[in-house]
């Protein structure tokens, strides 16, 4: 603590340089936080995926349906505890730009399988009582200002015609990675209003396996039952499904590592240069510190702390700005289902900042430590 005035004075001696370095840090860490947020958004499905949930889809592709008759057979598969099914709707609210996922769900079973979603009991009862009812994720409700009792018209995509729904509930969830953008309505309403070709088809099944069951074995059992049928299945864990879905969006991980590396090395150069220049300018002062009794180790520590302090302040500013930005909500208006900076991202940003501070400060600090007092005083 007693060295703080000295550290602070050194950091503020070249205000413009310090501000520019802090600014570089803040911008870089802001960018880093944004990347982490986007990555988290892409992976939110994987993070939120239930460890005990599996998706049963048509082997040909996700957009091919499966018969509703599979329900009974699936329920009898050893290891399957609960089951639900849903359909992708693909409707448009007012304008094609207003994207949010709409699912026709089996109201009786959906929440048993997806227990992370929270709907107030009275709202859920109202949903069950209204065939045209809809339950909307809080993010989508907030975005479009939907309230309980509102009537929401959707223009059908895969299911032509004009569809109208009554908002009966707004759901929230237990974890920040959970998707709050979905729009649920009743599968029986879809069945009732859809064209004849749709009769008795579902988009996919979600099964929850019993505790202790072997997921691979259960998946194999399911796919074997429907092998060589008209609608063969492909069963995989929800996280594997989400991961393959996220991969379709491109290699975000690689992009993040590439940009992160550029950020890291740029920061290293900027901070290293700042510290090296700062130490070079202060050769005489460092010699004086040693003259009055500061040891080599304490001079090394002073320069290192200064570098780490610079990195910590700049990093904190960037992370705070990044966090603040994510709190403003998804700037893509619904393209990213979960737009939040995870705690692990904050920790990674802090670790990145401190690492840059340590590495960038090391060489100047060693130079300061090795400084020969007599030589330095002679140059004054």
């Amino acid at each position: 603590m007693k060295f703080l005035p000295l550290l602070f004075a050194n950091l503020t001696r070249r205000k413009v340089r310090t501000t520019l370095t802090l600014g570089s840090f803040a911008v870089a860490l802001f960018l880093f936080c944004l990347l982490v947020t986007i990555r988290a958004a892409f992976n939110s499905g994987i993070d939120a995926a239930g460890a005990d949930r599996m998706l049963v889809i048509n082997k040909v592709s996700l957009i091919q349906p499966l018969p509703i008759a599979y329900r009974e057979k699936l329920q009898r598969v050893p290891g399957v505890q609960d089951l639900t099914y849903a359909n992708w709707f693909g409707g448009v609210y007012q304008d094609e730009k207003n994207f949010f996922a709409q699912f026709a769900i089996d109201a009786d079973t959906y929440r048993t399988v997806y227990s992370e979603f929270i709907v107030p009991p009275d709202q859920w009862q109202a949903f069950l009582a209204d065939k045209q009812g809809a339950v909307i994720g809080k993010a989508t409700a907030d975005r479009y200002g939907f309230k309980i009792g509102d009537r929401v018209p959707l223009k059908g995509g895969g299911f032509p015609g004009d569809w109208e729904f009554n908002v009966r509930g707004i759901y929230t969830a237990r974890r920040p990675s959970d998707d709050l953008t979905q729009f649920w309505f009743r599968w029986d309403y879809l069945k009732e209003k859809a064209p004849p070709w749709f009769a008795n088809q579902v988009g996919w099944y979600t099964v929850r396996i019993a505790p202790g069951s072997d997921a691979v074995k259960v998946a194999k059992s399911i796919d074997e039952i429907f092998a060589n049928s008209a609608w063969e299945t492909r069963t995989q864990t929800e996280s594997a499904f989400m991961a393959s879905f996220a991969e379709q969006m491109g290699n975000v991980e690689f992009l993040m590592i590439a940009i992160g590396s550029v950020v890291f090395f740029t920061l290293l150069l900027v901070t290293g240069n700042t510290m090296a220049t700062s130490v070079r300018e202060r050769t005489g002062e460092l010699a004086i510190l040693k003259t009055v009794g500061f040891t080599d180790a304490s001079v090394l520590a002073l320069v290192m702390i200064e570098s780490v302090l610079l990195a910590a302040i700049g990093g904190a500013l960037g992370i705070a700005a990044g966090k603040g930005f994510t709190l403003l909500g998804d700037p893509t208006k619904g393209m990213l289902v979960a737009f939040y900076l995870p705690a692990s991202g904050v920790a990674a940003g802090a670790a990145l900042s401190l690492s840059v501070g340590v590495i960038a400060g090391l060489l100047p600090a060693l130079t300061a430590m090795r400084l020969q007092v007599v030589d330095a005083l002679r140059r004054l």
């Binding site: 007693k2 060295f3 005035p5 000295l6 004075a9 050194n10 503020t12 001696r13 005489g284 002062e285 004086i288 510190l289 040693k290 003259t291 009055v292 009794g293 500061f294 040891t295 080599d296 180790a297 304490s298 007092v373 007599v374 005083l377 004054l380």
Partner: protein
């Protein structure tokens, strides 16, 4: 008592057959040769001599900023010429106060913080450090200038701050390298008055390098260095 030879270990500072040689390429520069010196507590000694005669080198050796190539230096019973770099630094903090021609203050720190620097290495509390700094500020007559940065002070005032920094940790002796070299006559006299007072009133021991005969007149004894050899 100041003498060119030494007689036993009773002196505060004793240099015996001290030599310093620098190597420049294949050439050896003998900056100091066979220096013998004894200084007692409370002495005010001036070293004079032409540029390059080894005055500052001798001061650096006596202050533990450098080590002799040969011979030994003993200060207050400590044989400093054989101490490791780390131990020498700790010894310096405890025993030596330095005053330089160009003041060598940290420009971004206030007078108070500059003076406090040597105390940061001590276990003193913040309140104790403050008290020590205020006491020496009074000694050097700068009570009202504690919060001023060096650039806000005159040359004479900056040198007073440097002297305050040199004495704040109550060192065994002071080493002053041309303390009036960058000052006008009036400021120089004030600094010399202050150094004299430190010796006469506070019993400090001062070794001062100077080119100025009027500064040397203030010392109890003046020794001359010429081509690395110390003479009366």
């Amino acid at each position: 008592m100041v003498q060119l030879g030494t007689n036993g270990n009773s002196h505060l500072i004793a240099a015996r057959d001290v030599a310093k040689t620098y190597r420049r390429g294949s050439e050896e520069l003998h900056v100091l040769q066979g220096v013998n010196l004894a200084v007692d507590k409370g002495e005010f000694v001036a070293f004079m001599g032409p540029s390059g005669s080894g005055k500052t080198t001798l001061l650096n050796l006596l202050g533990g900023l450098d080590v002799p190539s040969a011979g030994s230096i003993t200060v207050a019973g400590d044989e400093i010429s054989r101490l490791s770099r780390a131990k020498l630094t700790a010894w310096r903090a405890r025993h030596v106060g330095f005053v330089f021609q160009m003041y060598n203050l940290i420009p971004v720190l206030s007078a108070f913080r500059n003076i406090e620097l040597p105390l940061l290495l001590s276990p003193l509390s913040g309140a104790d450090r403050r008290q020590h700094v205020q006491t020496v500020l009074k000694v050097v007559g700068l009570e009202g200038r504690a919060d001023h940065k060096p650039r806000e002070l005159s040359g004479g005032q900056q040198q007073r701050v440097a002297i305050a920094r040199a004495i704040v940790a109550d060192p065994t002796f002071l080493l002053c390298d041309e303390p009036t070299g960058d000052l006008d006559r009036r400021s120089a006299d004030e600094i010399l008055d202050l150094l004299e007072r430190l010796v006469s009133e506070l019993g400090k021991t001062i070794l001062m390098v100077t080119h100025d005969p009027r500064a040397a007149e203030r010392a109890h004894a003046t020794l001359h260095l010429d081509k690395g050899v110390l003479t009366n």
